[in-house]
């Protein structure tokens, strides 16, 4: 079996009477894209937040790269190599694209308490940042203000910032959301190549993308994983079709 | 021999914000005297200190450095005086205080060029303590705000007062609600209340006290019962005894003329502060008759002699350049529609202050 980079064990999380995660156990292995799908409100984002460290689970554990990180905060997990994109773009909107990327590089390098050197002229940081922008295809936009970017470009920038951290795995919450057809295509192609570098836990409602990319798919319904398998297996699963895909999805 | 050269007097006082009433009165009293005198060659420049110590210090600097004033006056508040006076006198300029008399300036830090025309801060409180003895009060409840002037006030009262204390409270500076204190007074078994709560604090206290049903005699310094604020206290103040070195019914020609002229010019009764401003100006004018400020020793001697017609009647300076004077007890009455005071007794006679001994000059 390939190396397991991320593993959750019996995660439970309730909001009042609502069980947003109940006994969720899943893993992410090196080199794969593991898609997490499920109806709206099934608890996907809640799960992602527990993995990233925004929410503490009520019970259960999260293991990252073989280490129990349940007690660590978001920052510590990020430092361990957890790269992340948000469901709603989280970027420094007043900054240029390049500044956002340099920020990522700075985080990766970790030496932030320097008060005198000019950060935008630091060759080591710039190299990492430009490299990441290059990979997502934003080189030409490096000096635009992030607030002026289109939605799709912001998504690309999020990935680029995550890349600067040289992450060991990615968490992506609906990266395709709001992208047009061409944007989705491009991103699909891009993520396809990314799995070599770091495996991805992908939450997505865009089934075209999910079926094209995922090595494995887990289906979360009412906080529980009801099925895990390859694209074909999931497509064929009657319960998944009923709860999530709908009848014409198999076509 | 009258001084011929121009004399410039700088007045730094509070003319804006909540405490402006006092500054306005001092200024109006002062200017009335200057105008009545009408001589050429005396120029007064007036500036608003906004009740901020740093503003006052800078205005003083400017008046000394740019306007080259010979004499400064006007400050209302002790903390501003403490900020300004030492620097002023250190630069060889005269300062005459028409209000504020902090103890340090009367004692250890007295200065030949500093004269206080009003009182040392403790004076009126001491008189109140003396009056309490005369009136047979044996168990006072005393309160004041928790700041230096407040502590001085209670210390001053206790210095003369011989009875027991049923309670001693320091309130928050600027406090507006006194229900808790009044409840404590009610429960304390006191036979009288002494309080020092200047400005709005006093108004609030008296109104609330009057509404509380507690019926003990109240004594205070003049500050809470002066012309400017009495109208705002209203009936609640009627009958209250307060101590003051001046009142409009002090019987001397200078005072009668002052009261009439002030009323005519400004359309209101003069206050304690106006009288102090008026006296300050007349003191300066009397000294100018004898010497120029540039001749420091002569001018100082002329000031010290204090040969002017004070509206208080007899007036002289002690060795520390603070007044030695009578302090009266007044009662709040209503004359027609107007609340005012009348003198009912003399609290202390020829009284100097307790810090004079510490002054080495």
């Amino acid at each position: 079996m390939a190396d397991v980079v991320l593993k959750t064990d019996n995660l439970c999380k309730s909001f009042g009477a609502l069980k947003a995660s109940s006994n969720v156990s899943l893993d992410l292995r090196a080199g794969e894209i593991h898609a997490l799908i499920g109806p709206n409100g099934a608890g996907k984002s809640t799960l992602i937040k527990q993995i990233a460290g925004n929410f503490a689970p009520d019970s259960g554990t999260v293991e990252l790269l073989g280490r129990d990180v349940t007690a660590l905060d978001t920052v510590a997990r990020a430092r361990m190599g957890l790269g992340r994109t948000f469901q709603i773009s989280a970027l420094a909107m007043d900054y240029t694209v390049l500044q956002n990327a340099v920020l990522g590089a700075l985080g990766g390098q970790g030496r932030v308490f320097r008060f005198f050197r000019n950060v935008m002229e630091d060759p080591a940081l710039l190299e990492v940042a430009c490299d990441a922008l290059e990979r997502v295809g934003l080189t030409d936009d490096a000096h635009r203000r992030t607030a002026d970017l289109s939605h799709g470009q912001r998504r690309q920038l999020e990935v680029a910032v995550a890349l600067t951290l040289k992450p060991k795995l990615f968490l992506m919450d609906e990266p395709m959301a709001g992208l047009g057809a061409d944007g989705s295509h491009r991103l699909t192609g891009f993520l396809d190549g990314l799995r070599e570098q770091a495996p991805i836990l992908l939450v997505e409602h865009d089934m075209d993308a999910v079926f094209a990319l995922a090595d494995r798919i887990s289906v979360l319904v009412y906080g529980q994983i009801i099925a895990t398998g390859t694209a074909a297996e999931i497509r064929a699963n009657a319960e998944v079709r009923r709860a999530y895909l709908g009848e014409d999805a198999a076509a | 021999a009258a001084a011929q050269a121009d004399t410039k007097i700088g007045m730094i006082t509070t003319l804006s914000g909540g405490g402006a009433g006092l500054g306005v009165d001092v200024r109006d009293g002062f200017m009335l005297a200057i105008e009545q005198d009408g001589r050429d060659g005396v120029e007064v420049v007036i500036e608003d200190d906004q009740r901020k110590p740093d503003a006052a210090v800078q205005i003083a600097d400017r008046m000394i450095q740019s306007e080259k004033v010979d004499i400064l006056t006007g400050i209302i508040w002790s903390n501003l005086a403490m900020a300004v006076v030492p620097a002023v006198t250190a630069q060889g300029v005269f300062y005459l205080s028409p209000n504020a008399g902090p103890s340090a300036l009367a004692g250890k830090r007295c200065h030949p060029n500093y004269f206080n025309v009003a009182w040392q801060n403790d004076n009126l409180h001491e008189a109140a303590g003396a009056y309490a003895n005369d009136a047979g009060l044996k168990n006072s409840f005393i309160l004041a705000p928790n700041y230096p002037a407040g502590k001085d006030a209670l210390t001053g009262y206790k210095r003369m007062y011989e009875g027991e204390l049923s309670g001693e409270i320091y309130t928050k500076l600027g406090q507006t609600d006194y229900a808790a204190e009044i409840a404590q007074i009610r429960a304390s078994g006191a036979d009288s209340v002494y309080f020092f709560l200047p400005g709005g604090m006093g108004i609030s206290f008296l109104k609330q006290y009057a509404g509380s049903g507690v019926d003990l005699p109240v004594v205070g310094p003049a500050f809470s019962f002066d012309q400017g604020i009495l109208q705002a206290v209203g009936d609640a103040a009627l009958g209250v005894k307060n101590t003051s070195q001046w009142n409009k019914d002090i019987d001397n020609p200078a005072n009668a003329a002052f009261v009439a002229a002030f009323q005519e010019k400004y359309g209101r009764l003069p206050s304690l502060y106006a009288s102090q401003g008026f006296d300050t100006a007349n003191l300066i004018l009397s000294a100018l008759d004898k010497a120029e400020p540039a001749d420091q020793d002569a001018f100082r001697a002329a000031l010290k002699a204090a040969e002017f017609d004070s509206v208080r009647g007899d007036f002289r300076f002690g060795d520390n350049h603070h007044p030695v004077q009578d302090i009266y007890v007044r009662e709040v009455i209503k004359e027609g529609d107007v609340f005012t005071n009348k003198i009912i007794a003399t609290g202390l006679t020829d009284h100097a202050d307790a810090y004079a001994g510490e002054c080495k000059m």
Binding site: F15, I37, G38, P39, N40, G41, A42, S45, Q87, I88, D148, S150, H151, G152, Q153, E174, A177, G178, L179, G180, A181, D182, G183, S184, H185, H205, M207, A243, Y244, L245, G246, D248, A249 | -
Partner: protein, 229 residues
Amino acid sequence: MSLLSLQGVEASYGPAQALFGVDLEIAEGEVVALMGRNGMGKSTTIKTICGMLAASRGELRFDGHDLRQLPSHKIARLGIGLVPEGRRCFAPLTVEENLTAAARPGPWDFKKVAELFPRLEERRSQKAGSLSGGEQQMLTISRALMTNPRLLILDEATEGLAPVVRQEIWAAIAWLKTSAGLAILVVDKSLKELSAIADRGVILNKGSNAWEGRIGELPADMADRFLGV
């Protein structure tokens, strides 16, 4: 006569011009799809219609009223219901309060909306901010319906929804068209569903009209050029 009519509309965000002359007509009861790649001005067009962004040039009329003269809330009261991009439900309010805030008299009320989206009935007193994405989307559609509009504008209303829910929403839109007779302006990236439901498609490119017609008849090269499919 058309219900909504835009002619030569131009608009800018500060110094950056986003619309360079947009024309758009929607008749009573008609469903029109507004299409185009990311950043081509679809949402901007919608914002100018709703009065959230001032048009710098051109004509906007709804039912004979000149929209350029009216503030946002008056435009809405003429009968335009908006489901904005990015959901924008009132996060601190409950589901029910979100709907009450928008309600105006007419056939649509809480009961009828709850029939369309039963999930909202279950979440009735939950704060909108803690709803899942899909639930929020249902809420904003319902909220627009509660204003009882004559023209419903849906800007990416199926974004981030599960396929089943998406089907539900498309079904709901179809129902609104046929049974409720609403005019609808819809922006969405799913060409398949749009062509099934829309009477007409309008494609924007770089802030101006690039093509208009029945979606089924869109030439393949244009589809590639303007939509990237």
